[in-house]
Structure formats: structure tokens, C-alpha cells
């Protein structure tokens, strides 16, 4: 069933109410989730949400209004109200708003999906989570948890410039977590990552994770961590696993290259960026091994789509090339303000939220080595992997990350397991110290990226491989 007619009615009503540009997204989303604890199902939930959101530009001011009603009358009323809200914005006006040019697109897109996640039986899914938590419990976990999530989203986008695009996106993912309780502390191991692994993919992704097979090892490692020595404090060579490096990219590159932050539009909440547009094309962000791409067309990654929420086709572009900052994540209005000629990174997390600049798949291109080679070439250092905590300042410079597990590296070999490993640094200094990079890339999915007011939860993907960094401060303690 198409909803182009309702979207068109909303756009037309906004234009008749005075808008010089308008667009509308109709979204129908179904979701499903389940969690298990210690061999029992803890929660089973499903949801369905449908509505439309209209964006109207009146003069130099935006307005946005959203309703859960897909009738023609409701759509027209929403279009008019969006225009009225835009007019109210004009009481505190800014400079003229332009949009970078975009060709009208009529298209359909859907991601590859071998096994529809919503067609897999709940009992089979339950067996998977019960099996994984039982296996972890039997292997010594004090607390064993597992969960999956599924999102099935259909969108119909119409703009006053002639866009008519429909998309069908299926996303899912899962994880298992084992905790061990010690004297006054808790250690946790996660498979395959801190929050689970997610992708724009069918249920085949979850099957590939082998939650049950990996759960016992997580429990054993969590127990072992309780008696492992603390990560030493000081400066050392740091080797990061791919999962942790994915979050490092997300926090210290992905958010920093968001153009709305660079322009100050997020100054009061998410923050700004240390990057200055006058240095685009010349600023050294990292070592020559650092090549960061923005690639919403990457199959299977969680930040993938055919067209963003302004109708811009998915296009791969460079953000950092040979260590030099060369690109940003942009929308049509922010790009115009900055004098750039591209957009393509605007999304919202639902019909009721304003589309804004969001990460897509922001990833690090692979290097020439393997993780084994990196360790073999390290005389003295620490290996850390799987995120445990993350914190970074509002300009995206000063970060401190904690990982679930660490190992000392001595004379080219992994040594003792290390407890509570943390590292801290400043973004560009850290990236400039990257001197070895692996080819073993995985596109890690982050389904919990928070930004915007009212708050929105973004889905992003981060291709990353293990890498080595020199002179990094580790072992920060409270």
C-alpha cells in the first residue's frame, strides 16, 4: 500500500499556507524485541507506529509538525500547521536559508534481506536467547543476559521539488552478556559487542553471531577478569580491537564531522566541533593510514539507506583521506550555509521527529596488516577491546574510553589478561599516532546514537579493523 497521496496532500497544503518549500515523510514502522535473563525470557514486545511529518520553509524559517493520522484531512492540516510554526520562527529570524540543488527523484529502494526477521517464529527466537543465557550461566556467569531487536520501516517521501521515493528497510541484531560479581565490583563480557551487533540485514545476521556457542567463553572471561591484575597506568603503545575502534570512530570522528555541529546548531546540547570549515581540505586529522569514508550504500551496515530523509541518493565520499580532513556529513540547508555542493546525511528516527544531520556508515578503510602481525611487531604495550564506557567533551576532542578486557603485550606476544583497562587522549593527536592498521574489517552497528531535541536515536554503522597507536595514556583511575 502506497502513502504517496497523503504525503503529497501535506506538501500541497503547506505550499498553499505560504511555504516556499515543503516535504513530507509518511512512515510505518514495526518493531519487535525480546530479552532473556538466566535462562528465562524476561520481556517480549512488539510495536507498530504510523504517521507523517511535514517540514515547511517559510521565508528563512523552518517549521515541522507531525501527526499519527494518515487521512487526507489530517495530512492537509499537518501541512498547514507546519507552515504556521515556521511563521512563528520568523519572530527570531536568521540569515536567508537556501538548499543545495537536488534533482527530483522518483525511486524505490529496499535492502537485501535473506530471512525476514519478523517471519522467524518467536519460539525459535526465544530458544536462542534462553539457550545463550543458559550456556553462559552454566559456564559460571552470575548474571547472564541476551536480547535481540528488529525494526521494519517503510517510508514514502514527497517534496515540493518533485521527489517521490519509497523505501523498505529491515534491521536487526542481537547480543549475549555475562557478568561476574566480585568483592565490590562487577566484570562483564559481551558478545559480539557492548550492545550487540546490528545491521541493515535479515535474521541471517543474528544466526551468524552464534550466541550460544560464544556465551560460555564470555562467562569464563568475566570470571577470570575478577582476579586479573589492573591495567597499568602510564603511557604505552595501545592496540585496539575493531569493536572498540568502531566507537572511537563514532565519537571522535563521526560526530566531529557533522556539519550542524560545526555550524553551531547543536551548541547548547550535543555540542560543537573542534573542526573549522576554513581548514577543510588542509587540516591533518590523523596519520597517513587514516582514511575515513562516509558510505551509506555499504550493504548490510546499520547506517545504510537508498536515499536520506531529504531524498538525496546514497553516495560514498571521503571524510578523511591520507590523514587530511576532506569531507563532512551534511544536509541540504547546512551544506548551503557552508558553501558546499553536497548533502546526503539527513535522517530522523521516526515520523514525529525533524530530520537532522546524522551519521550514516562512517568507517575506517582497512590497512595492510593482520592483528597477529600488529601484536607480533609490538614489544611492549596493551591490547584492549569491547567498549565498556565512553565519554568525550562537547567539542569532540578529549575522550576517555573503558574497555571490557585488556591484555598486556610483551615481546610480540599477548600476555596476562588485564582488568578495567581505560585509555584517554585528544582526537587528532591520537589519530596521528596510528602507525599500524589491520585489514580485518567488520562493519559494527551502533543502534543507540543520541542527538537532537526532542531526543532522537540514530542507527549508524562503523566499518573498523584493529589498529595500533603510540604513546597513549592508559589506566586512568577514579
Amino acid at each position: 500500500m502506497s502513502h504517496f497521496d497523503e504525503a503529497s496532500a501535506a506538501v500541497q497544503a503547506a505550499l498553499e499556507a505560504g511555504a516556499r518549500y515543503a516535504d513530507c515523510r509518511v512512515m510505518v514502522r514495526r518493531g519487535e524485541s525480546m530479552s532473556a535473563r538466566d535462562g528465562d525470557i524476561e520481556d517480549v514486545g512488539s510495536g507498530e507506529s504510523a504517521g507523517l511529518g511535514v517540514r515547511a520553509l517559510v521565508g528563512s524559517s523552518w517549521g515541522f509538525y507531525a501527526v499519527p493520522d494518515l487521512s487526507d484531512g489530517a495530512a492537509r492540516a499537518a501541512g498547514r500547521r507546519a507552515a504556521q510554526i515556521a511563521a512563528a520562527s520568523a519572530t527570531v529570524p536568521g540569515p536567508p536559508v537556501d538548499l543545495v540543488p537536488a534533482a527530483a527523484v522518483e525511486a524505490s529502494w529496499a535492502n537485501a534481506c535473506e530471512i525476514d526477521p519478523l517471519e522467524v517464529s518467536l519460539s525459535a527466537k526465544g530458544d536462542l536467547l534462553v539457550g545463550a543465557t543458559t550456556a553462559a550461566k552454566q559456564a559460571g556467569a552470575d548474571l547472564a543476559e541476551a536480547a535481540y531487536q528488529v525494526w521494519d520501516t517503510r517510508k514514502w517521501f514527497v517534496s515540493s521539488e518533485g521527489h517521490r521515493i519509497d523505501q523498505h528497510t529491515r534491521e536487526c541484531g542481537a547480543g549475549v552478556w555475562a557478568s561476574a560479581f566480585g568483592d565490590g565490583e562487577i566484570q562483564r563480557r559481551s558478545w559480539p559487542s557492548y550492545g550487540g551487533q546490528y545491521g541493515t540485514s535479515g535474521w541471517e545476521l543474528v544466526e551468524s553471531l552464534d550466541l550460544i556457542g560464544n556465551a560460555p567463553r564470555m562467562a569464563e572471561e568475566a570470571r577470570a577478569l575478577l582476579s586479573a591484575p589492573l591495567c597499568p597506568s602510564g603511557e604505552t603503545t595501545l592496540v585496539l580491537g575493531g569493536e572498540q575502534l568502531a566507537l572511537q570512530i563514532h565519537e571522535s570522528v563521526g560526530h566531529a564531522i557533522e556539519l550542524d555541529r560545526i555550524l553551531g546548531w547543536e551548541a547548547a546540547f550535543a555540542g560543537t566541533s573542534w573542526l573549522d570549515l576554513s581548514q577543510l581540505g588542509s587540516l591533518r586529522y590523523g596519520s597517513e593510514l587514516m582514511n575515513i569514508t562516509i558510505d551509506p550504500g555499504r550493504p548490510g551496515a546499520l547506517g545504510s539507506f537508498g536515499f536520506d530523509d531529504e531524498g538525496t541518493p546514497a553516495t560514498k565520499r571521503d571524510a578523511v583521506r591520507d590523514g587530511i580532513w576532506v569531507g563532512v556529513l551534511a544536509g541540504r540547508d547546512s551544506a548551503a550555509v557552508a558553501g558546499l555542493d553536497y548533502a546526503g546525511s539527513v535522517r530522523s528516527d521516526g515520523w514525529a521527529r525533524l530530520p537532522m544531520v546524522r551519521m550514516t556508515n562512517v568507517g575506517l578503510e582497512p590497512g595492510p596488516h593482520t592483528l597477529d602481525e600488529i601484536i607480533a611487531n609490538t614489544d611492549d604495550g596493551v591490547f584492549m577491546d569491547v567498549n565498556r564506557s565512553w565519554s568525550i567533551d562537547d567539542r569532540r576532542l578529549n575522550f576517555q574510553f573503558g574497555c571490557e578486557i585488556g591484555y598486556e603485550i610483551k615481546n610480540g606476544k599477548l600476555g596476562r589478561m588485564l582488568r578495567n583497562p581505560t585509555y584517554t587522549g585528544i582526537g587528532p593527536k591520537f589519530w596521528q599516532s596510528m602507525d599500524m592498521l589491520s585489514a580485518e574489517t567488520v562493519a559494527w552497528g551502533t543502534p543507540n546514537c543520541g542527538k537532537g531535541q526532542p531526543g532522537q536515536v540514530g542507527h549508524t554503522g562503523h566499518p573498523a579493523a584493529p589498529a595500533r597507536f603510540t604513546n597513549v595514556r592508559v589506566g586512568v583511575r577514579g
Binding site: G45, S46, A88, V92, A267, G478
Partner: protein, 483 residues
């Protein structure tokens, strides 16, 4: 332009219809609970001293949880016509039948009347508790929000500004197959903005049940004063510093205590520091969760939770002794106690947590405060007593390093100053800290508490906190933000 959102009774009728549909589809043996919420939110956002986002939405969400033949499932929809509701029921019944057995189902809330509170303004006509609800806030239009933004921008006197003005309205009802049937409504307004001067940011933030309480000019002037006082900051070496935290920073402490410490599930699973009846805080510390408001304050929340349990004040810490944690029916059953009315759609997985915590203020200050100072009024007497330490306005991006000890790392934001011999002597650059929150408020560590608890909106959700300024003996600053 007003928004046609003020309704009474519609949600309760919807909830009752869904309970009846469950009976038809699944039979009388099904245990069903239905929460219907109509939420309307409008937010006017400004940056670079102009309105750049101005949004509004309204939606009704129906959430059904049912327990059938020993199995449990939940479903939700925004489709509230006959087909949508029937689809929700049929889908959830089918999911329950296919789900694995649920050995921990805690059962339904039995019929229980709502608690009355002098601060509560949120209930509908049928509850008899409809006092104090601010229709003007619920009906606020974009021009009223824009007006406050304009006042904030003007009061900043040419400094660059950014922030938001928000109004929200919720009308909700709960019904279950055990006969519990309650309804209520609530409205809230909040304003949060910064002013920027030469790289220094100053903040002003306030929540209220009445939009009329928010004065953009007052907030803009306060933010600007802070920004101007933050110019030319110096870097200080890391170390343990005596600090005065302003209410904005204290709200972060309350938030992390709530989410991780007073979380009933974390407590039941031994992941929380909380030990009931233990002297875990300084005797000057009292923390109370107040979802029904207090004194003359409008209630910030609904008078019942997502399991239909009536809400009331919950004393978490009294005179330094931990007295309670928040529970929904599941965590309460696990801990061998009763629900405190803190169920949410996510509480069975994330855990129930207090979301309207007040830290009790100290008796009124004896010395008059300087209203023109960039320092929060209630913090001024605390600073006057500090020989050498830091005044910290706001904390940012705080994350838990260890849930049991509640060691947290994060950064300062929106203003740090060095205080020497009771006087602010200069601005300090932002710093990173790594600090156990319970340890910071432990016996002997709290040197003073401000005389007023300020209502502050949460950055992310609809929760809010009432926080005074706080004078602490030690705060572990582990590095400068610059490296």
C-alpha cells in the same frame, strides 16, 4: 494558534476497549494491562541567536501487556482505530502463545485509588484530583515559546545564544483485567540555553509545571553573566579539589544515582551500591522521589505508572541513611517487597528508577545573595566558606566505569572557576573527572548544601530533578580537557 489536545476521559475509554477486546480474543483467563498515553510535545530551538528548529507533534500510544497460559508478551501501537486496536490485541495474543514460559510474571495491580497530593495537578475529572493543572502550558502556542526565546536572546546583550523552550502535555489512562482503572494528565515547560563569549559558555536552565514561570530574559541574563565571567580561563593541574557544584551539576549526580543506584532491578541483582538502612551518605543528605510534586510545585509526572500502581513520594535517603530503591512489580517480587510505582515500558529489562528526585535544601541562608552574580544564588554562601577550591556549573557526558561503586567519568561544562578565600578569582578550563559518586557524598564529605532546590529538566527524557548547590570536600579531576 492553539493545539486541540485538551481531552479528558478519551484515554480511559480507549484502555477499557482494549481490555474488553482481550477478553473477546483470549478469553477471561488472560491477564491484561493497558496503558494509553496521549502526548503532545512542542519545542522551539535556537542556535546562533536565531530559531533554527521549531517542531511539534501529538500522538496517542496504546501499550498492551498480557499474560496468557503462563506466557507474557507486550505490544504497542499508534493506530487507535478499530482495526488498529484489534490488530494490536491479536498480534499480542499470538505473540504470548508463541513465547517461552514466563516464570517471573508478577501479576496485575489490584484496584487501588490514586494517592492525593497537594502538589499534584495532573489527574482528570473522574479522579477528583484535577487541581493545579495548567491549561495555559498545555495549550501554549509557538508564538509564546518564540517570545521567551526572543527575550533570552535579547537579554544576552549581543552574545551568541543557543538552547530551547519546550512545552509538553500528557493525558493518560490505565486499565487492567483485575479492575484497576485510573487516569491523569500533566503538563510541563522547560527552558535551557547557553550564551557564548570568546569561547566561554554560560548556561541557564529551568523546568516548571507552568510556562508562565519561565522568564527568558532572566535566564538569558544569567547565562550571559556566566559566559562573560568565564573568559580567559587558566588550566589547573589534575588532583583532588574541594568543590561547590551548582544545581545543574548536582542534577547529574541525582540522575546517575537514580539510574544505577536506586534502580530496583540493579539492586535485586546486586549491581547497585545501595544497602537499605545503611549510613551510605553524609547525615545532611536527604533524597526523595516526588512524582506528585511537592509544596507549591506542580506535579511533574502522572499519578500512576505503567502497571497502574499509584505513585507517591518515596524517601530514598533520609539523613544519610539509604531507605529505599524504586520498584516495579517484577523487581519488587524479586526483592521480596511491593512496587513503588516506577514501572515503565522498559523497566522489566532496564529496571525501574526514580525519575523525579529532590535533594533537600538546607535551611535558608543568613546572608543575602548577590542577584547580579554569575554564581547561582544558593551557591554564593557556600563559596564564601571555601578557602581554595573550584566552582563547577555543569557536568557533561558522564558514564559509569563500575556500576557497583558508581565510579563515573565525565567533563565539566558551561563554567568552572577557581575560588580562593571565599571569592571567585578566575575562570578555569574544562576538566575531566573520574569520581565515585557515593564516595563524594559520603559521611563527612558534604560541607554544605544550598538553601534552594532548583527544578531542572533532564537533557534527554521527560524526567526532572530538584537540586540545590552542593559543597563537597573532594572531587577527583583527572585531567584537563585539552589533554
Amino acid at each position: 494558534m492553539s493545539i486541540d489536545i485538551i481531552r479528558t476521559g478519551a484515554e480511559l475509554e480507549l484502555a477499557a476497549r482494549v481490555v474488553e477486546l482481550v477478553r473477546q480474543v483470549a478469553g477471561p483467563g488472560a491477564e491484561a494491562e493497558v496503558m494509553v498515553r496521549h502526548d503532545a510535545e512542542a519545542l522551539t530551538r535556537f542556535a546562533n541567536s536565531m530559531i533554527h528548529q521549531n517542531v511539534a507533534d501529538a500522538a496517542t500510544n496504546v501499550r498492551l501487556r498480557l499474560h496468557l497460559d503462563g506466557r507474557t508478551a507486550a505490544g504497542a501501537t499508534t493506530l487507535v482505530d478499530t482495526d488498529g486496536l484489534r490488530g494490536l490485541v491479536e498480534r499480542t495474543v499470538a505473540a504470548a502463545r508463541l513465547s517461552p514460559p514466563d516464570a517471573t510474571w508478577p501479576g496485575l495491580t489490584s484496584p487501588t485509588p490514586l494517592h492525593r497530593s497537594s502538589g499534584h495537578h495532573g489527574s482528570g475529572e473522574r479522579s477528583g484530583l484535577d487541581f493545579g493543572f495548567d491549561e495555559a502550558t498545555a495549550r501554549a502556542d509557538p508564538a509564546e515559546r518564540a517570545g521567551r526565546v526572543r527575550d533570552f536572546v535579547r537579554a544576552a546583550g549581543g552574545l551568541e545564544t543557543a538552547g530551547y523552550c519546550r512545552t509538553t502535555y500528557s493525558s493518560a489512562a490505565f486499565a487492567n483485567s483485575a479492575g484497576q482503572s485510573v487516569e491523569g494528565r500533566t503538563a510541563e515547560a522547560a527552558m535551557d540555553g547557553i550564551a557564548r563569549a570568546g569561547g566561554a559558555d554560560g548556561v541557564a536552565r529551568l523546568a516548571s509545571g507552568r510556562l508562565g514561570d519561565l522568564d527568558g530574559a532572566v535566564l538569558g541574563a544569567r547565562a550571559a553573566a556566566k559566559a562573560r565571567a568565564g573568559l580567559d580561563p587558566v588550566e589547573l593541574p589534575p588532583g583532588h579539589y574541594e568543590v561547590v557544584l551548582e544545581p545543574e551539576a548536582v542534577a547529574d549526580l541525582l540522575d546517575n544515582f537514580s539510574m544505577f543506584g536506586f534502580n530496583g532491578k540493579a539492586y535485586a541483582q546486586k549491581q547497585s551500591f545501595a544497602e537499605l538502612e545503611a549510613e551510605q551518605f553524609d547525615p545532611s543528605v536527604t533524597l526523595i522521589d516526588e512524582p506528585l510534586g511537592s509544596r507549591a510545585e506542580h506535579a511533574p509526572g502522572l499519578p500512576f505508572d505503567d502497571e497502574g500502581t499509584p505513585r507517591e513520594s518515596l524517601v530514598l535517603v533520609r539523613d544519610g541513611v539509604t531507605k529505599a530503591v524504586a520498584h516495579d512489580r517484577s523487581s519488587a517480587a524479586e526483592a521480596g517487597t511491593t512496587s513503588t510505582g516506577h514501572a515503565s515500558p522498559a523497566s522489566r529489562t532496564w529496571g525501574p528508577y526514580p525519575s523525579h528526585v529532590r535533594m533537600e535544601a538546607a535551611p535558608a541562608a543568613t546572608e543575602p545573595a548577590d542577584p547580579a552574580s554569575p554564581v547561582a544564588e544558593s551557591a554564593q554562601p557556600l563559596i564564601a566558606r571555601m578557602r581554595r577550591g573550584l566552582l563547577i556549573t555543569d557536568l557533561w557526558y558522564t558514564r559509569v566505569l563500575d556500576p557497583k561503586t558508581l565510579v563515573i567519568t565525565g567533563l565539566t561544562r558551561n563554567g568552572v572557576w577557581l575560588v580562593e578565600d571565599g571569592e571567585v578569582t578566575g575562570a578555569v578550563s574544562n576538566m575531566r573527572f573520574t569520581q565515585s559518586y557515593p564516595q563524594a557524598l559520603a559521611n563527612g564529605q558534604v560541607l554544605g548544601i544550598g538553601s534552594e532546590s532548583i527544578l531542572l529538566p533532564d537533557r534527554w527524557s521527560g524526567t526532572r530533578y530538584a537540586a540545590p548547590a552542593l559543597h563537597l570536600a573532594s572531587w577527583n579531576l583527572t585531567g584537563n580537557a585539552s589533554g
